[in-house]
Symmetry: C2
Subunit: 228 residues, 2 copies
């Protein structure tokens, strides 16, 4: 049985639905790989068109500009991640186990092939690691937010915050803790690889030191009910 996961995307993210044609899917697929290798700043629609084997104009028929394409990719990632979370947490009982699973999912590369194999998940993880912030750290945050481009991120954040509240209903900063976890899972990974002096886990020394750090951070916050 082959189950196809289709994530419903916000229609304002694209001009023509890239899932609706082979060309569209290739554009997204190749874009992810290309942004990974080139970095978002050096990535252009011209180069993308070349490797996809189409023209610049055709790419523009799918996405208004490269920022929208990045938004699309990142939004897809968060929606997929929420799906993964729901899927893997379902059969677990107890908030603690569930939270640990979430951290595991966030802090490492996912071997799971839910969501299809046609996407390069390693490249996707890297793109998220390098470029997530760029998606909202622009002067258009307000407008983009109104168009609900960040909804998948907020949804995931809210879901994790919900788990935190399950674990300890008295903890008052569940959303901030969730967004901290989401951001740090990726950023600490980046630091580990490129600016290890900002971490305590040298370049790949301890494979799950990052996970341990995040777990400790989250649970110590949730367990400490002392008011400050």
């Amino acid at each position: 049985m082959e189950l196809q996961l289709r994530i419903k995307m916000n229609e304002n993210l694209y001009l023509r639905d890239p899932e609706s044609s082979e060309l569209g899917r290739r554009i997204v697929r190749e874009a992810i790989k290309m942004i990974d290798t080139l970095g978002f700043e050096d990535f252009t629609f011209k180069k993308l068109a070349e490797t996809v084997g189409t023209t610049e104009a055709s790419v523009y028929r799918y996405f208004e500009n490269k920022h929208r394409l990045l938004l699309y990719i990142i939004a897809w990632y968060w929606a997929w991640m929420e799906y993964l979370v729901v899927y893997h947490i379902n059969n677990l009982d107890g908030a603690e186990k569930r939270i640990k699973k979430v951290i595991e999912l966030l802090s490492g590369h996912i071997k799971d092939n839910i969501g299809g194999d046609e996407l390069d998940k390693t490249a996707l993880f890297n793109v998220v690691m390098w470029e997530v912030n760029k998606v909202y750290l622009t002067k258009e945050v307000g407008a983009d937010n109104q168009l609900k481009f960040f909804k998948p991120y907020k949804d995931l954040c809210a879901r994790i915050a919900g788990l935190f509240t399950d674990y300890n209903p008295k903890y008052t900063y569940s959303h901030s803790l969730a967004s901290t976890l989401l951001e740090m899972a990726h950023l600490q990974h980046f630091f580990m690889q490129h600016l290890p002096a900002l971490t305590d886990y040298g370049k790949g020394k301890k494979p799950n030191a990052l996970r341990t750090f995040l777990e400790h951070l989250v649970f110590s916050a949730l367990n400490d009910t002392k008011a400050r």
Copy 2:
């Protein structure tokens, strides 16, 4: 008595030292205000030259490109922040008090006018909030790191990590916790203003809720010595 604070900057950041001339100082001063209002992407040397009242070519004589100029501004900020930390912590005894002071310094606008009044500190804070990440989230991290462009950030991180170790020598993630604090102090501030759903402190509802959150996060981690 007027004390002049001069921060020694990494010489590779500029072509001609902007502190060495009035024009250079104006370039940096105006750049900060301009990046604040326009955002880094829309900020150009041409526009900068116009408002400074000089030519594009002259700006290029000080900074190789706009990314270097941003690096310069951010590096200055971190160096200044470390100075502020040292200055304000000096007379405090006990790691707890010191850490709380650091969080206070990081999480709000600083009213202090150490470092001179000629710089728009509010604009500077905003520039850091919006653009810090962009400084290292590029394909040039490795090269830029070798040129020691991130040293001020690392130094501040190490200093804060040191305070954490003073507070609890058994805590093993002092650097990661410090970089988490540094990043989140700015990012949560941004979320609070622009994506409040990711936080628990609505748009400016509670003025120091962010500080409380960060304090709780840091101290609960430091107090929880239970191994996980």
